[in-house]
């Protein structure tokens, strides 16, 4: 039972407690949540959840079926053909090497988002794997805080 990482995109009716229905399903059945994002889909009565999960092929199949069984769920898609991006905010001490940090963030579709007397905040947005590389690379600059946005994805 190898654990595969999968991205599941779920379109749900915008109604009260739909978030707890979905998170409740994951906790009740012991499924993993790596990340979960949700936002309304413009000009519709629906929202999109993007859930990154891990599990065997059988578990992933169950997750999609169980999600679909929830009454407010319109569509569940789980394919490998997804364009994935994740945004990350990182705060560094102002005393670190700012040009290095700037170059690194540029390389990962990012830039400096804010500068104060104490710290500098950069944002990047990239594929999940590259986000991991970025987070490893910046370790030496002593990040004070790292805020990951969770994966968002859309089918090709």
């Amino acid at each position: 039972m190898e654990n595969e990482r999968r991205v599941i995109s779920v379109i749900v009716a915008n109604e009260a407690s739909v978030l707890s229905r979905i998170s409740g399903l994951f906790s009740a059945r012991g499924y993993n949540v790596v990340s979960l994002t949700v936002a309304p889909i413009p000009d519709t009565d629906y929202s999109r959840f993007t859930i990154v999960t891990k599990g065997s092929v059988r578990v992933i199949e169950q997750i999609t079926k169980q999600l679909h069984k929830l009454i407010p769920v319109l569509r569940v898609s789980e394919t490998e053909e997804m364009i994935e991006k994740e945004m990350v905010l990182v705060k560094f001490p102002i005393t670190e090497n700012l040009s290095d940090i700037s170059v690194l963030s540029n390389a990962y579709n990012g830039k400096i988002a804010n500068v104060s007397t104490e710290s500098i905040i950069v944002m990047i947005a990239d594929e999940p794997k590259r986000v991991e590389h970025f987070l490893t690379a910046i370790k030496r600059y002593h990040p004070i805080e790292i805020v990951r946005g969770g994966t968002v994805a859309v089918e090709r």
Partner: protein, 566 residues
């Protein structure tokens, strides 16, 4: 029509042809009870505990096939009902449960009798609603009945704050339901059905595995025809008892943990499992890696999530069993040849002779199995049978001669002690022309004993047959077998006088120690036509056998005589 939210509830129930509501009033639901007082469109049956109201509605639903309806108040009224909701959820029983809630302005303030009801019921209902505006009530109630009864059925919970039941709004009950996100798939895929029929035609040792979905789908008649037409033998799950007539020559018996030797061996030897409305529950399959090891699997189920959940389906068919079976029959007429199964049927016959389902009357005390068979002889088809949970439940499933679907009403998935008696009240209410028998144990009966009052008040003459072994028998059996006979907290030697107990409520009671006394008590209880407790002193240490120990392989059964392994 400008009416209150409470009146809307009444109007909607009448529009849904509800004739019986089981319930218990309280503060937050009082507006609705005030309207119940004024109406005569349906009867309200006051149980003496909210859990019993839900079980009674379950029993009513299971025997009639209609949506069961129960009504309760907020806080403890609701939490008492949770066991019933969970029971209905596990056994896919269509129900609408309406609860009162504290007024909107008090929600979230830890108000008196406030609890996050939909937060709790989310985990044990098919769907739930908190109605925050009376404008939504007609649509929500219409949807609730629709969702409960369609697809894989289940309980729907509607929580209504007190100010919403007081709110006056325009009422128009919708004729149709429009939920874009809920479209259950009922029609089986034609190509898959064709493939399944080809697989049946190629199989040498096929086996029908009949599940409770057949009963929910009202498909027993079609399944009986399909079995007869193909000549393929069948095993039933606990939930499917009564699908085939007990005399059907192709019915082997129940399979699973306490299934018959022949049924479990047939499942272990088959080369093609034809699962109809069954969900491969762990009490059925035993050790999964050894389950039907040599077989391909056809799985027909209305719930896609049930397919390939535990056992991989080679021929998955998502759809309503009834429609799918009709389509399968149309195709099978041309390709399935019943003659080819002669050697397979011979093998099964051999299994049946080797270890038939039986018991021995080898002690002075009555055997519980005898009591069940005896009721079968005396009442047979004239009784609806409910049970509580434990040894008596398994013996009933093994030994009662069921002849029709919806004759057997029991708590399968959740295994709720205390289910039987209140469920039997609902069963009786739904089928007044049949005798309502509840086989129960000396443990289970005390879990909803207060319902004697409901039975007396509402003239629902349920006959409770207590197979009394002064033990929490099933747990005692496991302790005997797997815990070196350490009978921790299962000895129920201290007991009430069941005769006086029944009498104190206005019912009748009997103590039975012999066969003659048993017959006499049953006869008298039927004649008196009032709720009865028949306290049958049965053999204390009788075990339910065969038994597949939890997690063991289906073919590795403890058997009656010397527990030798097959």
């Amino acid at each position: 029509m400008q009416i209150s939210g409470a009146q809307m509830v009444i109007e909607a129930l009448i529009a849904e042809n509800v004739d019986t509501v089981f319930g218990y009033p309280g503060g937050a639901i009082m507006n609705v009870y005030d309207e119940i007082y004024k109406q005569d469109g349906f009867e309200h049956i006051l149980t003496r505990h909210e859990q019993a109201a839900i079980h009674a509605a379950e029993g009513y639903s299971k025997v009639t096939g209609k949506v069961g309806v129960a009504m309760i108040t907020s806080g403890p009224g609701f939490t008492n009902a949770v066991t019933g909701l969970a029971d209905a959820y596990m056994d896919s029983i269509p129900m609408v449960v309406i609860s009162g809630q504290v007024p909107m302005s008090l929600i979230g303030t830890d108000a008196f009798q406030e609890i996050d009801a939909i937060g709790i019921s989310r985990a044990c209902t098919k769907h739930n609603y908190l109605v925050t505006d009376a404008k939504d009530l007609p649509r929500v109630l219409k949807e609730a009945f629709h969702i409960a009864a369609t697809g894989r059925p289940g309980p729907v919970h509607v929580d209504i704050p007190k100010d919403v039941t007081a709110q006056i709004e325009t009422y128009v009950y919708p004729d149709t339901v429009n939920i874009p996100t809920y479209k259950p798939h009922t029609k089986g895929n034609k190509r898959q059905i064709k493939k399944a029929i080809d697989a049946i035609a190629a199989a040498k040792r096929p086996l029908f595995y009949l599940g409770g979905g057949i009963i929910n789908s009202n498909a027993a008649e079609e399944v009986r025809e399909f079995v007869k037409m193909t000549g393929i033998p069948a095993v039933e799950t606990f939930m499917a008892r009564g699908t085939l007539h007990h005399e059907d020559p192709l019915l082997i018996s129940m399979l699973g943990m306490h299934g018959s030797y022949a049924a479990n061996m047939a499942m272990s030897e088959t080369d093609l499992v034809i699962a109809l409305g069954a969900r491969f529950d762990d009490r059925v399959t035993g050790k999964l890696s050894e389950f039907a090891k040599h077989a391909g699997v056809i799985h027909v189920d209305i719930d896609p999530a049930s397919i390939s959940k535990l056992v991989n389906a080679d021929y998955p068919i998502v759809g309503d069993v009834k429609g799918v079976v009709v389509e399968m029959m149309a195709l099978a007429k041309k390709s399935v040849d019943a003659e080819v199964y002669a050697p397979w049927l011979e093998t099964i016959e051999h299994f049946e002779q080797l270890h038939p389902l039986q018991y021995f009357e080898d002690t002075d005390r009555l055997k519980p199995q005898w009591c069940i068979e005896r009721v079968g002889e005396i009442l047979g088809d004239d009784a609806n049978i409910s049970t509580d949970v434990g040894q008596h439940q398994m013996w009933t499933a093994q030994f009662y001669p069921f002849s029709r679907p919806r004759q057997f009403i029991s708590s399968g998935g959740l295994g709720t002690m205390g289910f039987g008696f209140p469920a039997a009240l609902g069963v009786k209410r739904g089928a007044m022309d049949k005798v309502s028998i509840n086989f129960t144990g000396d443990g289970s009966i005390l879990m909803n004993i207060q319902e004697l009052m409901t039975a007396v008040e509402k003239k629902l003459p349920v006959i409770n047959i207590i197979l009394n072994n002064n033990y929490l028998g099933m747990v005692r059996q496991w302790q005997t077998l797997f815990y070196d006979k350490r009978h921790a907290e299962t000895d129920l030697s201290v007991q009430p006088d069941f005769v006086m107990l029944a009498q104190s409520f206005g019912g009748v009671g009997y103590v039975v120690k012999t066969k003659d006394e048993f017959d006499a008590a049953l006869k008298d209880a039927i004649e008196k036509n009032v709720v009865a407790l028949i306290d049958v002193k049965v053999e204390r240490l009788e075990n339910v056998l065969p038994m597949v120990p939890s997690g063991g392989s289906l073919f590795n059964m403890m058997l009656l005589e010397n527990k030798k392994e097959s």
